[in-house]
Symmetry: C2
DNA sequence: CTACCGATCAAACAAGAGTTTGAGCCTGAG
DNA sequence: CTCAGGCTCAAACTCTTGTTTGATCGGTAG
């Protein structure tokens, strides 16, 4: 319904003492941005609608007006981000298949699975927030979100099929289990888990080099698939 | 303070229409049991004190009387279960070290890490609830719980040191990262994730055989360490 | 017997949540 | 100009939450 009907409204004179730097974009976009950030940083249940609207510099009723409810706002962000992530992964998997005559090796399949979220986590990409949001959705999401995550296996099935094709010698269920283990590796990439790892290693693992981390993950996962 | 002072009270006549089968144990134990179960099944924020006391068949004020607050109750369960789990893991690691002249191989170290939570998940052990509770605490726990998880690396350091000893050829930070990946494999063992895996595999992975799952996890993780 | 004390109870409390309301503002078409 | 309609606003509303309160029960030491 309310899709891309953003009125131009280049500058509406600041109604009150706002520093004028926050009122450039439309209200809906402001809410989406602030909500994703706060949800990713502090968790879904720990962020109230008032927190979001205050951060966005908009009125409290905006959330219900533009999205219907807090849960619908959550689901909207969730839907957008998971769609983007899955599209990116599918694109990489497709390219890998093209490069290898339709039979990409395990490492290239796993790269298509690992690289998008890792690359989003780089500071320059500025999408680390989105990654954390998606990861959070998996454990503390709404029932609707968890239902979607649980049943929507369409994009995951492509990876499962590709892995089965790359390792026809393995029983299918074994491939599925190993894919499950790989997913666990990704889902564990949360701020809190990194913190513990850094403490454990006395700072030796504090690296921001995404390429190096990707290589580590691929080495480990590929080794697991070769067992 | 209030420790093991459970009055015998074999049977106090049921005060109301309770079916008399729930009122055998002391109130505190009833609350602990019901709270752990509900928290594990539905999440910490989705369970209210009223839910707990209703399930336990006790008065609403019992939680605050016996534990001080809902968060304190949560932390009490968390403290007990993590202590048990870490003790069990440390025991297995110690035994593995004894069997291998103080230098257990990677697989035996990982077995000490993986086997306790997996064995608790068997239906006959009846501690699957506790495992789910601990896993939940990692993602949706109180700030105090997350702080404890983040900084209490003492029991994890034993495993890190053992792994460094088993693979002296690897850089230490590489070992730490791979341990991190293994932890991710465990933390992903949630009901919802299993559901998705079972759907993905069309039921081919629906097995309750803990030994087989443990072998799968050890194969994969050991292969990852051999990379 | 009596006075105490921990445990339990129903009831109320205060704070915070998400949501709704109705008035007002601004823009753009007729 | 006028008016309709999308949007924003402050304020109120309703519901649930965790917590507190004061009475009451039941056993026990003096």
């Amino acid at each position: 319904m309310t899709e891309a009907t953003n009125p131009p409204s280049p500058e509406n004179a600041g109604p009150d003492a706002a520093p004028d730097s926050e009122r450039e974009a439309a209200t809906k976009a402001q809410v989406l941005c602030a909500a994703e950030r706060l949800f990713a940083l502090h968790g879904f249940q720990n962020v109230s609608v008032r927190d979001i609207t205050a951060e966005a510099g908009v009125n409290l009723a905006s959330v219900n007006y533009h999205f219907g409810s807090k849960d619908a706002l959550l689901f909207e962000i969730f839907r957008r981000r998971t769609a983007e992530l899955n599209r990116e992964r599918a694109r990489m998997l497709h390219e890998a298949a093209d490069r290898h005559a339709g039979k990409p090796p395990v490492r290239e399949i796993l790269r298509a699975l690992f690289e998008p979220p890792l690359r989003w986590s780089t500071p320059e990409s500025g999408r680390g927030i989105s990654v954390q949001f998606i990861i959070r959705a998996r454990s503390e999401g709404t029932e609707a979100m968890r239902e979607a995550l649980r049943t929507d296996v369409s994009h995951l099935r492509r990876f499962a099929d590709a892995l089965v094709g790359a390792r026809p010698d393995l029983p299918k269920d074994e491939v599925y289990w190993r894919l499950h283990f790989c997913l666990g590796m990704i889902h564990n990439n949360r701020f809190a888990e990194f913190d513990r790892l850094h403490i454990l290693s006395d700072g030796a693992t504090r690296e921001s080099d995404v390429e190096a981390l990707l290589k580590r993950m691929l080495d480990f996962a590929e080794g697991g698939f070769q067992a």
